[in-house]
Every structure is written in structure tokens, then in C-alpha cells.
Amino acid sequence: MEKIVVEDVYKVFGPSPEKGIEMMKQGYSKADILEKTKNTIGVAGVSFTVKEGEILVIMGLSGSGKSTLVRCLNRLINPTSGKIHVADTDVTALNPEELRQFRLKHLSMVFQNFALFPHRTVLDNVAYGLEIQNVELSKRRERAMEAIIQVGLKGNEDSYPSQLSGGMQQRVGLARALALDSDIMLMDEAFSALDPLIRSDMQDELLQLQDKMQKTIVFISHDLDEALKIGDRIVLMKDGFIVQSGTAEEILTNPADEYVAKFVQDVDMAKVITAESVMLKPKEMAYYETDGPKSALRKMRHSHISGIFVRKDRKLLGYVSAEDASEAVKRGDHTLEKVTQTDIETVRLDTPAVEIIPLLARSNYPIPVVDEAQRLKGVVIRGSLLAGLAERGTE
């Protein structure tokens, strides 16, 4: 379901916004319009949608209009023209009081420089949204405490923001948004002010929280690595326009123009390419219930492989190498029980290549790719991984 629908939104700052839009449509450049009419183009005819429970990253360099765009969603900035529907409400049509109610119910926001209230303790900061909804004191403290525990700040609830480190302050900012049960979270460069290690931790935590919460998140970022890591989909902006939108892989493997290509050229492909896109279909499997060492060996020989994965109850159980199987045949075993290695490494469909490489280096068998139910979906061998990286890396 589409949670947010943005249609043809313009935002022009200046004395004659309508004229700015007109010139924009006639194809004048941003600089020309500024020079001729003193109007600055913030957002230029942008349309996109966000699905429920999705993280959409809006990415671009500073001045690309991304922060303006996200503020149009909750009308901290009023769009000059265009339609914005959030949770089936036409946001552009709300009067101030309706807008206030709407923000209370649906939208919470996390800010780049945290925007914590310096005169309030952590607990009172987190409880702010509830306080202005007139939730009673004991209840809002309880809910604020839950949010504080969620972001791992238990024990700091009585501190003032200035007593906390940057990373902790942004956790407070996050908790303040989480304490409200709003279904949509807007995050404006939420992690950009943090140093890289803490930023990476916060990204991981956001993803973990998102697994549980399933909120609809619009995340603004200027950092492509961040966008690739947390975005289900990415919208790339330049000079107020959307240049390209799609999944991380779509953008990386098929950049729409030079601007996008330039943006993505520094990205380490190994972080983006997933197991799913480089795995091979397993040629043959052994069945634990019915196959003995002899038939397993025959399957291997038939498919020209030096080992075979064993399946039991439709789940991946382990791996048998050709040497072990032939020894078992010599011993006269009738089952695969003694020769199946069950402590093998597995990866998921969305595991990035960068995490598979060390596994491949350590193990003497191909890496099996499994789904949530432990069913074998494919195998990654050294050749397929390298081929996948090479193919997409040299665009």
C-alpha cells in the first residue's frame, strides 16, 4: 500500500514563485531563474511514492532540495504547488489546526543537529510529543521510558542533552520520535552529524528497530553508503529534480546519467551486491532420509561436483565431500549420518558479497544460500562471486 504519494511538487522561494515554476517548465536553468526573477528553486516538479513499512532514502548533495522536500511532507515548508497525500490525507489542503492534529497523529521527525530542548532532561525531551498531546504524566513517563530503553539509553533519563555525547543525543532524538506511535518517521540527515563509527552503529540499530516497528520512514542523506545500507529504495536528487529512483542495485548497476554515475563510482560493489544476485542454482542434492554414501557419490560424479549438500525435512542439513563419501562406501555405511558435516556456514539471500568473501576463503565447500525456513536456494562459489563483482563493477 502507498503510504505517501507526492505528485508534481514544486517549491520556489522568492518574490514571485508562480513565475519561477513557469520558467522552470519552459526549461530555464536554476541559475537563470535566480538571476532574472530573484526566485530560488527548491524542489522542481517532484513525484514519488513511499510504501507502507518501507525505508525510502532521498539522497543528494547539499542544495539539491532534499531537506526542503522532506519539510514539504509535514508542511514545515509549504509547497508552492503540487499534491502530497500522506496516509490518505491531502496534506496540502489541511488548515493550520488540522495540520497540527495531523502532525500529532502521523508524523514524527528526527533532525540533523538533534534539535533537543536544552532545558529539558532526556526523559522530558522524549516525552515532549506526548506532553503536547496531553497524555497524563504517569503514562507519558512510562512510554518515554520504554522508548529510552529501546534506544539503549536507560540510566541517562535524568541527564540534560548537553551532558551527552553526539551519538547519545541522537538516540534521544530517535527516542523522542519513537515515543509517539506515529506511523511515519521523517529523518533529516539524522546521522550525518555523527562520526563514522557511531553513524554505522546507529544505522544498524535503526534497521534492527525497523524490523520490529515496520514504520514508514523517509530518510534524507547525502551519503551514498548510508543510503545503500538502509534504503529499501533510493531517490536521487539534483538541483531540485529527481534524477533517478529505484533500489540500490538498480541505481548502481544502471546509473541514469553521468551525475548518478559520478555519485556511485566510489561505491564498493562488494557492499551492494547480494548473495542472491551471484548465487548459482544447486545442481544436485542428497536426501538424508533416502540417500546412502553410494548414491550421493553417484550424484556428485554425475554433476561433476566434489561435494554435495544434504537435505532433511526440506531443510538444509549439511554437506558431504566426495572423499568422505567414498571412505564411507569403503567402510560399508548405509546412511549419510557419519559423514555429513552439519556445522557449515550459511548466508541469506540479502547477505552482501563483502561478508561472503571471507567465508569462502575459510571453507573448502561452496557457501550455501538459504531462506528464512533454512531451505537451500543456491550456492555461491568463488567463480560466481568474482564474476558477479567484475560484471557490475566495470560499467
Binding site: R71, N74, L76, R100, Q101, F102, R103, L104, K105, L107, S108, M109, F111, Q112, N113, A115, F117, P118, H119, Y128, G129, E131, I132, Q133, Y160, S162, Q163, R176, L180, L186
Partner: protein, 282 residues
């Protein structure tokens, strides 16, 4: 040839005369009430033995500033004043300052909020404040007489006019200085205008607003002295009398009394404003 003279003074005089004719009953009524109030405060301060009042003020100064040095200075300063036989004059000066400051703050903070939140109000209020602050203080004494008569109430009127601008300006500045992101955050969470003002803007502007109140007190103190010319009693009255009789020593004694009162009020207010900041760990 006679040059045509633009009748600036005549027009202002006509306006004030008109206002006096039509408003004097109200202002005189107000004057009567206020002067009763002042008399009450002065007699309340004069009723107990001076040593009790001294101790109360010392305790108050120490409690508000949480600083024993300020408490000690308050005690010694008031003792010196009492010893110089300026106790009564000082108490009536304090009463005048107290009332003028309360009125000035009561007008100044709401005006400052208005100027900060409405661009139109800001554009109207700022030039008026500029005029108020550059006009020589003595000028305010003149209209005070027809409206409120000679004495303390006229003094309070001119003191309020003279001392209210910094309170308005700094309240406005304090609110405008609240970081844009914090205002955005308050908005983004759906705060109403009054929630935003009372839960975010005013608390964050508090230090600046208190600095404004402090300046208002200091200006009120200096004006209360000047207002002795239209019959306000107190330390200013002592100075005024010393000028007329050329009593150099007496004049300086009263002057020292004023300085002591100023230092006490200033330090207490500064510590009080600073304490708010320390609480936030800044």
C-alpha cells in the same frame, strides 16, 4: 523675513493637553491607588526594626544567588546605609524600583513576545523603542506632572517609560535567538502556538529575558534618582537636596547608597540568570 516655523512643540503640547483634559480623571485615579500602594510598601519596610529588614534582604540575596559573598555584601552595604541615616530614603527608593520594575516587566515581556512573533508588531515597536531610548530622560518628567501630579506616581510613570525598552528588546531577541531547528522540532511534533511559546521558546530565551529584566532594574534605579526633580522622595531626593544646598558630603553619601542598592540588585539578578544556565549543564 520670518521663516515659517513648523509647530512640532505646539502640536505635541496640544495632544498632551487634549489627553490630560480627557484622561486626567483616570490617571489621577490611578495615581491615588498607586500612591496608596507605595505608602503601604514603604510602611511595611519601615515598620520592623532595620536590623530585621537587613537580615531578611541578606537571606533573600543569598537564597536567590546561592552565593555567600553576595549575601555578605548585602548585609554590610545595608548596614552602611543605615549607619549613614539613609535607611528611610533607601526603603522608599526600593519601593519605587519594585513597583516600576513590576509594571515595566508586566508591559515589556508581553510586548517583547509580540514583537518576536509578529513581523508587523516588530516593525511598529522597534522605531518607538529607538525614540524612547534616545529621548533625554528628563523629558519624560514633564508630561508625568499633568497626568499624575507631583510625587511618586509621576516618578513611576516616567521610570516605566524610561526603563521598559531593554526588557522588550531582550525578550524579543531571546525568542528570536531560539535555534530554528528547535522551533521546527516543536512544530513538527504538532505543538500549538502557546505550547511552543511556553514549553520551548520562553524557557530557552529565559537567560536573555532575565538579562533584559536586569537592565530594566538598573535603568529604573537611575531614573528614580532623576525623578526626584518632580518630587519623588528617596535617595534621589537626598541627592537633589544636596545639590540645592551644596552639601557635598551628604550628596556623596546618598550617591554611595544608590551604588550599594544597584550592586546588590545587579549581582542577585545576574546570579539568578546564570543559575538557570548552570542547571542545563552549559
Amino acid at each position: 523675513m520670518d521663516m515659517y516655523r513648523i509647530p512640532v512643540g505646539a502640536v505635541i503640547e496640544a495632544i498632551i493637553d487634549f489627553l490630560v483634559d480627557h484622561l486626567a480623571f483616570a490617571t489621577r485615579g490611578f495615581a491615588a491607588i498607586t500612591s496608596t500602594g507605595i505608602d503601604w510598601i514603604v510602611s511595611a519596610l519601615m515598620y520592623p526594626p532595620p536590623i530585621v529588614v537587613m537580615l531578611v534582604f541578606t537571606a533573600l540575596a543569598w537564597f536567590l544567588s546561592r552565593n555567600w559573598k553576595i549575601g555578605l555584601f548585602t548585609f554590610l552595604g545595608l548596614f552602611l546605609i543605615w549607619n549613614m541615616q539613609l535607611w528611610g530614603a533607601t526603603m522608599s527608593t526600593l519601593a519605587l524600583i519594585l513597583i516600576s520594575t513590576l509594571i515595566a516587566v508586566g508591559i515589556g515581556i508581553p510586548m517583547g513576545i509580540l514583537a518576536a512573533l509578529s513581523q508587523t508588531a516588530y516593525k511598529i515597536i522597534t522605531p518607538i523603542l529607538d525614540i524612547m531610548q534616545t529621548m533625554p530622560a528628563f523629558v519624560y518628567l514633564i508630561p508625568a506632572i499633568p497626568f499624575f501630579g507631583l510625587g511618586a506616581v509621576g516618578a513611576i510613570f516616567s521610570t516605566v517609560v524610561f526603563s521598559v525598552p531593554p526588557c522588550i528588546r531582550l525578550t524579543c531577541l531571546g525568542i528570536k535567538q531560539v535555534p530554528k531547528e528547535l522551533v521546527e522540532a516543536a512544530d513538527a511534533f504538532g505543538s500549538s502556538k502557546s505550547q511552543k511559546l511556553f514549553k520551548v521558546q520562553l524557557p530557552i530565551a529565559k537567560t536573555t529575558i532575565i538579562a533584559g529584566v536586569n537592565q530594566t532594574i538598573m535603568l529604573a534605579l537611575s531614573m528614580v534618582v532623576i525623578a526626584a526633580m518632580i518630587g519623588a522622595r528617596g535617595l534621589g531626593g537626598e541627592v537633589w537636596r544636596a545639590i540645592q544646598r551644596l552639601e557635598m558630603g551628604r550628596g556623596f553619601e546618598a550617591g554611595i547608597g544608590i551604588v550599594i542598592v544597584a550592586i546588590i540588585l545587579d549581582r542577585v539578578m545576574q546570579q539568578y540568570g546564570g543559575k538557570g544556565q548552570a542547571q542545563q549543564g552549559e
